[in-house]
C-alpha cells in the first residue's frame, strides 16, 4: 500500500515541478496554449466538488441497480441475466459511456458543472476514458479512495493516479457568461491620461457594478476618487463615466 502512495507522490512531484515553472502565482488555473497562440485558462476541479459529483453518480447507480433488481423479481431468469449484465455495465461502463458520449460528463459531473478532458484540451475519447476508469481500481485502495485522494491533493492539477496515466483533467466546464450592461451615466474622460492597467482596473470596477454591494462600491470608489479629481459625493458615478469613455461609449 505504501509503495502505491509513493508512486502517486512520486509522479505528482514530477508533474507539479513542470507546471509550477509556467505559473508562479498561487492559483489552480491551468493555462493551455493553443496552436493559434492563444492562452486558454482552464480551472481544474478540486477534491470536494469531485466527491460530490461522485456521490451523485453513486446514488444514481444505486437507484438504477434497484430497478435492475426489480426486473429480476418480475421477469424471472431472463430478468436475472438482464440484472447481472446491467450491474456489470453500471460498475464498469457507466462512467466510460457517459464520458465518451456526453462530452466528458457523467450525470454527477454534469450537475456539478464538471467535465473530463485530455490535458491538452481535446475532448476525451474511448481510450482515455477507459484508462482513467479502469485504474479507478487502484485509486480506491485501500479503502474509500485513499490513494486517489492523497494523489489528487498532492497534485497541482488535482489528478488522481488514473488521470495521471490517462493524461486527463477534470475541469470546471467553460460556461457562457451573461454580459452585464454598464450603468447609464454620461461618459466623461478622466482628468489625467491613464495607463493601461489603470484603465483595466476602472473597467473591471464598472463591469462588476451588479456584483458589488452599493456600500462596497462607494468604499472602493472613495479610495481612488481624490487622485482623479472627482467629487467624493459622485465618486461611483464619476468612475462609471470614465469607464464608459474608456470603452468608447457615450
Amino acid at each position: 500500500m505504501y509503495s502505491l502512495l509513493l508512486v502517486g507522490l512520486f509522479l505528482n512531484n514530477y508533474s507539479s515541478a513542470h507546471s509550477s515553472a509556467d505559473t508562479l502565482l498561487l492559483d489552480t488555473v491551468v493555462y493551455l496554449e493553443t496552436p493559434e497562440g492563444i492562452c486558454l485558462a482552464l480551472r481544474p476541479a478540486g477534491l470536494p466538488v469531485r466527491v460530490l459529483a461522485f456521490a451523485i453518480d453513486l446514488l444514481l447507480r444505486a437507484a438504477l441497480l434497484a430497478f435492475a433488481g426489480a426486473a429480476w423479481l418480475y421477469l424471472g431468469k431472463f430478468g436475472l441475466g438482464l440484472a447481472s449484465i446491467s450491474a456489470f455495465l453500471l460498475l464498469w461502463g457507466y462512467m466510460v459511456l457517459f464520458e465518451v458520449f456526453n462530452q466528458g460528463r457523467s450525470p454527477g459531473k454534469q450537475i456539478m458543472g464538471l467535465q473530463v478532458i485530455y490535458s491538452d484540451g481535446t475532448p476525451i475519447n474511448w481510450s482515455g476514458s477507459l484508462t482513467r476508469n479502469l485504474l479507478r481500481m487502484i485509486d480506491l485502495l485501500p479503502f474509500a479512495y485513499c490513494i486517489g485522494i492523497l494523489c489528487m491533493l498532492n497534485s497541482a492539477r488535482f489528478q488522481r493516479l488514473g488521470d495521471l496515466v490517462a493524461g486527463t483533467l477534470v475541469i470546471y466546464e467553460v460556461r457562457p457568461t451573461q454580459r452585464k450592461s454598464l450603468a447609464e451615466v454620461t461618459a466623461s474622460p478622466s482628468a489625467y491620461p491613464l495607463t493601461r492597467s489603470e484603465q483595466h482596473a476602472l473597467l473591471n470596477f464598472a463591469e462588476r457594478q451588479q456584483q458589488l454591494p452599493k456600500q462596497r462600491s462607494e468604499e472602493l470608489a472613495a479610495i481612488i476618487a481624490p487622485a482623479l479629481h472627482i467629487e467624493p459625493a459622485q465618486a461611483v458615478s464619476g468612475l462609471y463615466a470614465i469607464a464608459r469613455s474608456i470603452l468608447g461609449l457615450r
Binding site: 512520486f10 493553443t34 492563444i38 447481472s84 449484465i85 456489470f88 484540451g121 481535446t122 496515466v165 463591469e207
Partner: protein
C-alpha cells in the same frame, strides 16, 4: 480602436460562430456550419489576442475565451469513434499491437501457462495439494459441476435452469472483472499483474489437474477448450497490458515517469480493448456452446482446437498489410 466600436463591428461574426459551434455540439451540423469553420475559428482567436493586447475589459475577454474554447473542442480532437474505427481496430490495430508487444505477451503467457501446467502436474502427483489452494467445499462444488452425469456443464449446472442469458451475464461479470483487476493492478510496479496471473494460473491448473485425476477429464477439457481460446488469451493479454504499465514505471528510460506511463497506457488500452472483445466472445461461447453436454466430445474438442488455431492465425497474420480505411 475603442472597445465599444470593436464590439459593434465584430458582434455579428461572434454570433454566427457561436451558432455554428452550438450546431456542432448538438451533432446536427449542416454543410453551412462546417464551411469556413477553420477561418472563423482563427479569426475569433485573433480577436481574442487583440482584445487582450489592447486591454479590453474582462467580460469581453471571457466571452471570447469561451467561444475559442468551444471552437477548440470542435476543431482539435483525437480520432472520432465510428464503425470504421472499430473495424480498423479489430483488423489492424489490435493484432499488430499484440505482435509489437510480444515481449510483454510472452512474459505474461509464460507466467500464466507455466503456473497452470506446474499446478496441473503437481495435483496429479500429490492429490492433497489442491486443498492447500482451494477449500474442500469449493472442490466438491467443482466436482459436481463437471460430473459426466450432468446434462449441463460448468457453473451453469448448479443453478438448475436452462436460461443461457443468466450465465452469459454471470460469465461476463466474472471474467471481465478478473481481466480488469489483472490489468489495473499492474500499476503497482507490475506486481499486481504478476500476482493475478500466477494466482489464476495456479487456481485453474489445480482444478484441471484434480478433475482429470478423478476421471472427469472427458467433460472438463472439452468444456474448457472452446471458450478457453478466447478467455485464457484474454487473461494473458490483460496481464501483458498491466506488465507494460509496471515496466514503464520501473524503467521509464530517458523520459519522465508520467510521460512513460502515458505512452504505455495508449498501448495497454489497445490491448485491453481487444481483451474485452475476446472476453465477450468467450462468455458467449461458454454460455451457449461449452456448457451443453449433448454435443459429442469429439466435435467439441475439434471445434475447440479450431478456435485456438483461429485465434493464433488472427493474432499472427491480421493487419500485416495496411489497407486504406
Amino acid at each position: 480602436m475603442k472597445q465599444a466600436h470593436f464590439e459593434t463591428l465584430q458582434h455579428s461574426t461572434w454570433q454566427a460562430f457561436a451558432k455554428k459551434v452550438q450546431a456542432l455540439d448538438k451533432g446536427h451540423a449542416q454543410a453551412e456550419h462546417i464551411q469556413d469553420f477553420a477561418q472563423d475559428y482563427r479569426r475569433i482567436c485573433q480577436h481574442l489576442a487583440l482584445a487582450k493586447q489592447r486591454g479590453y475589459s474582462e467580460p469581453l475577454i471571457e466571452d471570447l475565451q469561451q467561444l475559442v474554447w468551444q471552437g477548440h473542442q470542435q476543431f482539435y480532437r483525437h480520432k472520432s469513434p465510428t464503425l470504421e474505427r472499430l473495424l480498423s481496430f479489430l483488423i489492424v490495430d489490435f493484432p499488430s499491437t499484440m505482435r509489437q508487444q510480444w515481449r510483454c505477451i510472452a512474459v505474461s503467457a509464460a507466467l500464466f501457462f507455466a503456473s497452470f501446467a506446474l499446478m496441473a502436474v503437481l495435483t496429479r502427483l500429490f492429490p492433497n495439494l489442491i486443498y492447500q489452494l482451494i477449500s474442500p467445499a469449493q472442490v466438491a462444488h467443482m466436482e459436481s459441476m463437471y460430473d459426466p452425469a450432468q446434462r449441463l456443464l460448468g457453473p451453469i449446472s448448479l443453478r438448475n435452469h436452462q436460461d443461457d442469458w443468466v450465465m452469459f451475464g454471470f460469465y461476463i461479470i466474472n471474467n471481465i472483472g478478473i481481466a480488469f483487476q489483472t490489468f489495473a493492478s499492474g500499476l503497482v510496479f507490475g506486481l499486481g499483474s504478476v500476482f493475478f496471473l500466477l494466482f489464476n494460473g495456479l487456481h485453474i491448473g489445480a482444478i484441471a489437474g484434480h478433475l482429470t485425476r478423478i476421471g472427469y477429464g472427458e467433460t472438463f477439457w472439452p468444456f474448457v477448450l472452446g471458450h478457453g481460446a478466447f478467455e485464457l488469451t484474454a487473461v494473458v493479454i490483460a496481464g501483458a497490458a498491466g506488465l507494460k504499465l509496471g515496466a514503464a514505471l520501473i524503467a521509464p528510460g530517458a523520459i519522465s515517469r508520467v510521460a512513460a506511463l502515458r505512452a504505455a497506457s495508449t498501448v495497454s488500452i489497445t490491448l485491453m480493448g481487444g481483451a474485452i472483445i475476446f472476453l465477450l466472445l468467450a462468455a458467449f461461447i461458454e454460455a451457449y456452446w461449452s456448457s451443453s453436454n449433448s454435443i459429442a466430445v469429439a466435435i467439441k474438442i475439434s471445434v475447440g482446437c479450431g478456435l485456438w488455431l483461429l485465434v493464433l492465425i488472427y493474432l499472427l497474420t491480421s493487419g500485416r498489410i495496411r489497407h486504406a480505411p
